[in-house]
Amino acid sequence: MIGKETTAGRATKFTFLGLWLLFSVFPLYWIAVTSLKAPGDIFSFPIAYWPERFSLENYRGLFGKADFGTYLVNSLVVATVAGAVATAISTLSAYVLARFEFRTKSALLMAALVTQMIPSFIALGPLYLLMTDLRLVDNRLGLVLVYIAVCVPFCTVMLRGFFENVPDALEEAAMIDGLSRFGALVRVLLPVMRPGIVAAFIFNFVNCWNELFLSVTLMNSDGTKTVPTALNGFISSFNIDWGSMSAAAVLTIAPTMILFAFASRHIVQGLTSGAVKG
């Protein structure tokens, strides 16, 4: 395939890959370990890479004092609904962009690209006023609507790539067999596309779950805050409580990592195609 590997080459390769793996994983390990230390041990010296005693004190504090459970539920609801609706909407537009030629197509793609260049801060003021008029400030529905708009452009482009990996002949054959265009889309194309659609949903979910600035602007009250907004509250105080912060970080990262563990396979699979090529 790509020439023979020498022993020295293999050694270099695996040393490098190993070091990178360590570098990738260590920060996550470290935040998890910090979160499991008793509050007093976090600032002990020398630093303990493996704590002598484990404690759930930091986690208890989050749910006692800070009502972190509500934030988690808010984030979960908003990210799930927005992610699902955005994926559905994007599937439609991606299908059209992959399978049809029309005059405004390149303009639409350009419009999608421009959304990636806009610093969200330029839109925050007017968006806040708009949401005030719609009475959707401090309302989870309001955040869902905004997040859908945030997700749709990239998700459309991503799904378009997946659609283009499926040969046209698949639908043509289905249509010759008597299915309508819509029937062919629903009964033949979408099942084949499932890994791509799942990957797109997870991507959207993670993006909404992680979004900070829009949520900080639109969700002020304690009952509607999302997780990133709460974390932002933790660091605006002068001294960071690293115990609570680490525990909150673990609770924020864990769900997205679990989802990405599944999605990464789909995304890589989709990119490297093969799997969906009939």
């Binding site: 395939m1 790509i2 020439g3 590997e5 490098f16 890959l17 990738s24 920060p27 470290w30 976090i42 600032f43 020398p46 909407i89 439609l92 299908y95 059209v96 399978r99 049809f100 030629e101 029309f102 005059r103 639409l108 793609l109 350009m110 419009a111 690209l113 959304t115 260049m117 806009i118 610093p119 330029i122 839109a123 003021g125 007017p126 708009l130 609507l145 708009a149 452009p153 459309t156 990996n165 002949a169 249509m175 010759i176 067999d177 779950w209 992680n210 900070l212 974390l231 660091i235 690293w242 970080a249 924020t252 997205t256 990592m257 990405f260 990464s264 995304i267 890589v268 990119l271 490297t272």
Partner: protein, 348 residues
């Protein structure tokens, strides 16, 4: 499934490369189709396009484009929370305020450093990882999944994570460096502007390498083995094969990935916001974090002017982006044989 009988009226072409006003239809379209029939077909096709595009267009128009355009015009108005009675048109005053601000030089320099200092290591390390992952080995899938994890974390949280690692008293970075004898005294990483900038760059490289690795790996798998066999027959060494076979073949993917990442990194305040908040003394601000600070001070006019500058700079990159894409279409593109997804433009 039965073989497609070409020319059957049911074989409505799924795609046509001709403009909609033209005779729309794939080559196998029966030549006998009359004008009326053709127009009906075009109308129906137009309806499908419109109906399927509508939901996406409506959401993006209302919640992205409307606020963006409304926000842009603030750049030309006096729009300050300290005095909202006067929101008159002030022309280019806000832009002048940006360029005459003493922090502007630092911010502009930091932004360039932030983009270049993130992109280059991400690309080089990502490329190396992709090359090494190309050959199968045990646990390769697990390895990929593990190094993919940073991508699942928000930039803001990555900032917090690395703020803890680079903590001057209880941070792991100082501890490791002291234990290995590389430094004698703990370094106050985030308190000194120069080391603070290095620290945020390290955090961003940690975050972004995987994306390059995945994109490049995908592209590498589209390179035909015959090319490598031919190169080997010619006696080309590793380096020559890399520069004369691999890189030229995946050049489009490389260009597109780099440009897309430039746009994202340029416009990515989250990590710095979480890690240093722009400090110490505003020394690690990039354009977008500075924009946050100005917004928090209430000067929406000046912040919007800054935002428009960002969009303008990024549009220049987009032009390069589209040119790179056009080149791809000229040298093959669709229909000229199937190519790997990595060889396909992401946006066009």
């Amino acid at each position: 499934m039965p073989a497609a009988s070409t020319g059957s009226p049911a074989t409505a072409p799924l795609k046509s490369s001709a403009p909609p006003s033209g005779s729309g239809g794939a080559p196998r379209r029966p030549g006998a189709a009359g004008g009326r029939r053709r127009r009906e077909f075009t109308t129906r096709r137009g309806l499908i396009v419109a109906a399927f595009m509508a939901p996406a267009a409506v959401f993006v128009a209302i919640f992205t484009y409307y606020p963006m355009i409304a926000g842009s015009q603030m750049a030309f108005r006096n729009w300050n929370l300290s005095d909202l009675t006067d929101t008159s048109w002030v022309g280019l005053k806000n832009f002048r305020d940006v360029f005459t601000d003493p922090a502007w030089g630092t911010v502009a320099g930091n932004t360039l450093l932030w983009v270049a200092g993130s992109i280059v290591p991400q690309l080089v390390i990502g490329f190396a990882i992709a090359l090494w992952l190309r050959r199968r080995f045990r646990f390769r899938g697990l390895y990929q999944a593990l190094i993919f994890f940073p991508w699942a974390i928000s930039g803001f949280l990555i900032g917090i994570l690395f703020r803890w690692l680079f903590n001057s008293e209880f941070g792991v970075v100082n501890d490791v460096l002291q234990r290995t004898g590389l430094i004698d005294e703990p370094i106050a990483w985030l308190a000194d502007p120069r080391t603070a900038m290095v620290s945020v760059l390290i955090a961003n490289v940690w975050y972004g390498v995987t994306f390059f690795a995945i994109m490049i790996l995908a592209a590498l798998q589209s390179v035909p083995d015959e090319l490598y066999e031919a190169a080997a027959l010619d006696g080309a060494g590793k380096a020559r094969t890399l520069f004369q076979v691999t890189i030229p073949y995946i050049r489009t993917t490389l260009a597109l990935t780099v440009l897309l990442r430039v746009i994202w990194i340029f416009n990515f305040p989250d990590l710095i916001f979480g890690m240093t908040g722009g400090g110490p003394n505003d020394e690690t601000h990039i354009v977008t974090t500075w924009m946050i600070k100005i917004t928090q001070q209430g000067d929406y006019g000046k912040a919007s002017a800054l935002g428009l500058l960002v969009v303008a700079v990024l549009l220049v990159f987009a032009v390069f982006f589209l040119l790179a894409t056009r080149e791809r279409q000229a040298t093959g593109g669709r229909g000229a044989g199937r190519r790997g997804a990595g060889e396909r433009g992401v946006w066009a």
